[in-house]
């Protein structure tokens, strides 16, 4: 055992060395953020911060960090710092470092030394092998700090000496030309070094060994989770920020300013969601698209939910578990992962000819219904399987028939699961573009007067099929398609839209809002049901 020192049950004092490691972790985090801002051009790498060029600043910090990490590792090796390192940093670390160094070695050989293909390959392998050995053979304190610190030192030196400066470009000499530029390489290199040294420093902070590894791993995992949430937040915030001005163009609040609903004028007017696109409008909007999306969802739900829930009932309650249910299970799971564009193709080939030969709202509804169906089936089935058999037994033991049991016990108990599943599924289909592109969408910028009115559209006719609804048989638009149309064809908004860009972002924002509110309702419903069912 490497950590020969007897481990004490309680160790309360934090040493100064520990503090150094903690500071290194903090520094790495700072560097990480700085690199991100540079990557997204919030700060420009050639501009100075407080008189120091950003590249030099990054280089300096990298040197500092790399140095700190190496010094800590060596200190631990020499016994100056008290740690419990393992015998070796391990295979995974060794493999990872050798990959890193193969890339570095190869790039330097090709770029700086100008060796040819074979020469750089040999150099890369040599450097990689050395990194592997340095990581794997010595004790963990050396193995996990030196290779990481060296990367950081090397990169820092390259930035500081100007070997990689703001004007640096590496033409990759591909047939379709592409280059790596300093704008990209410097922030990304920094980011990478920050990760490596941060990891090494975290390990050092944990005193290497099992605890050190845990520290290092946790740092990366927390960072990853944080980044995912960060990306989400960024996406939402960005879309919101860009979308709000367009959404509120021409908005008014006051008694009677809004359009009349059932004879009563609304006290708010939000032209973007209350108007279509028409010449005489003061402000253009996407009302027909919103209505189209709503009708699509309603249609898909009306089609898929009864079918899916019914099939789920049959499969869980009536069918014997066996080959048949297994096949259906496999089939529905397969259907659920089928790409949406394939559903679109199917709708195009199967449904469109059956509803008058042109794209229509009902084809879109059914296509999305087909997409929703497997999800409804899967979630309903799961919810029903989750209903405890005790309920069924209890009911059966009272001499209640099977269907009565299903109706009065199983379905009510499964309802929360079904509802949640359906809402989440609806959120997904409401944002789908590909299937409706092929089956339903027509006009790009539709006037408010042509908003689909399915209920008002029903009429009876004398010839088969006796009932008709031209609204259902007409092409219409929907939010995701509207956004697609804006990307591919921003024309046609008329002269009354002062900023097409605002209009685009507002459409994206409204689409996001509609879809995410389905998700929010779904997640909320699940939360509510879970609390209600867990009788406190």
């Amino acid at each position: 055992m490497a950590g020969a020192a007897e481990t004490r049950l309680v160790s309360r004092d934090t040493s100064r060395a520990n503090a150094v490691a903690a500071v290194a972790v903090g520094l790495a985090a700072l560097l990480f953020v700085l690199a991100l801002t540079a990557l997204f051009e919030v700060v420009t790498i050639s501009d100075p911060i407080g008189g120091v060029p950003v590249v030099a600043l990054l280089g300096g910090v990298l040197l500092l960090l790399g140095g700190a990490v190496v010094v800590f590792g060596v200190g631990s090796y020499l016994g100056i710092v008290e740690t419990q390192p393992s015998e070796s940093a391990g295979l995974v670390a060794a493999a990872a470092f050798s990959v890193v160094w193969v890339v570095i070695g190869g790039s330097v050989a090709a770029q700086v030394l100008g060796l040819g293909g074979i020469g750089s390959a040999v150099a890369a392998l040599l450097v990689g092998g050395a990194a592997f050995a340095i990581t794997a053979v010595p004790r963990e304190d050396i193995g996990s700090t030196v290779p990481a610190g060296a990367v950081s030192l090397l990169t820092g030196a390259a930035y500081l000496t100007g070997a990689i400066g703001p004007a640096w470009v590496w033409n990759l000499n591909f047939e379709q030309q592409a280059s790596l530029t300093a704008e990209f390489v410097i922030p990304v290199g920094t980011l990478f070094c920050a990760l490596l040294t941060g990891w090494a420093a975290a390990k050092a902070y944990g005193g290497f060994g099992a605890r050190g590894r845990r520290m290092g791993a946790y740092l990366l995992i927390y960072l990853n989770a944080g980044s995912i949430v960060g990306v989400l937040f960024l996406l939402l915030a960005f879309t919101t920020f860009k979308g709000l001005p367009g959404l509120f163009t021409g908005a008014e609040v006051g008694p009677g300013v809004g359009p009349a609903v059932f004879g009563v004028s609304l006290p708010v007017s939000l032209p973007f969601v209350m108007n279509g696109v028409a010449l005489l409008n003061d402000f253009q909007g996407v009302l027909p698209a919103i209505a189209g999306t709503i009708w699509l969802v309603i249609g898909a739900v009306l089609f898929a939910v009864p079918l899916g829930v019914g099939a789920a009932i049959f499969l869980t309650e009536y069918a014997e578990r066996g080959r048949f249910t297994q096949v259906v299970e496999v089939a529905t799971n397969g259907l659920w992962s089928t790409p949406s564009i394939v559903f679109g193709l199917f709708g195009f080939a199967f449904l469109v000819p059956r509803f008058g030969g042109n794209k229509s709202l009902i084809s879109g509804m059914l296509t999305l219904g087909f997409m929703l169906l497997p999800l409804v089936l899967i979630t309903s089935r799961e919810a029903m399987l989750a209903v405890p058999d005790e309920y069924r037994d209890a009911s059966a033991a009272l001499g209640v028939s099977k269907w009565q049991t299903i109706r009065s016990v199983v379905v009510p108990a499964a309802l929360p699961g079904v509802v949640t599943g359906v809402i989440l599924g609806v959120g997904r289909i409401a944002g789908e573009t590909a299937p409706i592109l092929l089956t339903m969408t027509g006009g790009t910028f539709v006037p408010g007067g042509q908003t689909a009115d399915v209920i008002g559209g029903f009429e009876f006719v004398s010839s088969p099929p006796f009932v008709a609804n031209p609204e259902l048989l007409q092409a219409t638009t929907a939010l995701p398609f509207q956004l697609y149309a804006l990307i591919t064809a921003g024309v046609g908004l008329g002269d009354t839209v002062s900023s097409p860009e605002q209009f685009q972002w507002a459409t994206a924002f409204v689409l996001l809002l509609v879809v995410l509110s389905f998700y929010a309702i779904g997640i909320g419903a699940r939360y509510y049901f879970r609390r209600r069912l867990n009788y406190e």
């Binding site: 405890p388 005790e390 009911s395 033991a397 009272l398 209640v400 009065s408």
Partner: protein, 310 residues
């Protein structure tokens, strides 16, 4: 009912299969036990037989869970089934109202009669059977509905009581009948005083003991003749247990009660006769409770009762 037909083919060829398998298992048992077994088979009681079991074998797949069990259960008495875990007590109990039909892997051979009528034969109306032979489960399993709905569930589904929206619209609602029924059953289950002011609360909000008594009330609501109870008190605290035990005592005035318990003291306290099952699904001893506990005929039963294993 699909379940009925499912049974038909297997019922006939019972007799042959059973004897074979029984022999095979018997080898592990001592000589004395063999004799003992003959002896208790002659256990006789005054009064009529409610349930008769003849050569009952149950298999789960290849697993032999009950091995040629025969016994007769007298009317209006408490019969306790005891034995180590996994010895087939629950399986036996669930055969008495054909709840084991619901386990698709279970195969049942042998005969069970209720008031002399075979329940394992074609054309048995399971709904009717289970109304007559009610069941209370090991862990309380009220429906996630209100207390009132739980108690009235059975009668409503059987159409004895009608309080649906339609019935109310048509003015045929039996609200009053329902209220009476709910009160009577809850009183019988010794729960009325505790819950009468919150009948509309969700039953899952009751304590474990209350839930179990609610399940008993629910079982009483369809007016059964036999009540099967599978370790009804195992999940309960001592006070709730005591209440349930008192209740069982009361119930035996009117109902035939068969109860599985893992608590020998409990069996000794509440039952009139006791059946001891041992691992392998054998019924090893059956007789008056006092006799079984104080003077068991089988050595293995004695070992079990004195805690040498189990």
């Amino acid at each position: 009912m699909s379940e009925t037909t499912q049974m038909s083919s297997e019922t006939e060829d019972t007799v042959e299969t059973t004897t074979e398998t029984a022999d095979a298992v018997e080898t592990t048992t001592g000589e004395t036990d063999e004799l003992v077994r003959e002896e208790w088979r002659e256990y006789s009681f005054a009064g009529p037989t409610k349930l008769g079991v003849e050569d009952l074998d149950v298999y789960y797949g290849d697993d032999h869970a009950l091995d040629g069990v025969s016994m007769e259960i007298p009317e209006k008495s408490v019969t306790a089934l005891i034995g180590p875990s996994g010895c087939g007590k629950s399986t036996f109990l669930r055969c008495l109202n054909r709840m084991n039909d619901r386990v698709s892997s279970a195969r049942i051979d042998g005969s069970v009669t209720l008031d002399g009528e075979e329940i394992y034969q074609d054309g048995v109306n399971l709904v009717e059977l289970r109304k007559r032979v009610g069941m209370v489960f090991q862990s309380p399993n009220p429906f996630p509905k209100s207390i009132r709905e739980n108690v009235a569930y059975g009668p409503e589904k059987h159409g004895d009581i009608n309080t649906g929206l339609l019935a109310r619209l048509l003015g045929r609602s039996d609200e009053e009948a329902r209220e009476e029924l709910v009160e009577r059953c809850l009183r019988d289950a010794a729960l009325w005083d505790e819950v009468h002011d919150r009948l509309d609360d969700n039953a899952l909000g009751l304590s474990g003991g209350q839930q179990q008594r609610l399940c008993i009330a629910r079982c009483l609501s369809v007016d059964p003749e036999v009540i099967l109870m599978d370790e009804p008190a195992s999940a309960l605290d001592p006070i709730a247990t005591a209440k349930i035990e008192d209740l069982i005592d009361d119930l035996s005035q009117e109902y035939t009660v068969v109860i599985v318990t893992h608590n020998m003291q409990q069996a000794a306290r509440i039952s009139d006769q006791t059946a001891v099952f041992l691992t392998g699904g054998e019924l090893v001893e059956y007789g008056d409770t006092d006799q079984v506990f104080e003077n068991p005929r089988s050595e293995r039963v004695e070992d079990y009762i004195t805690g040498k294993f189990g």
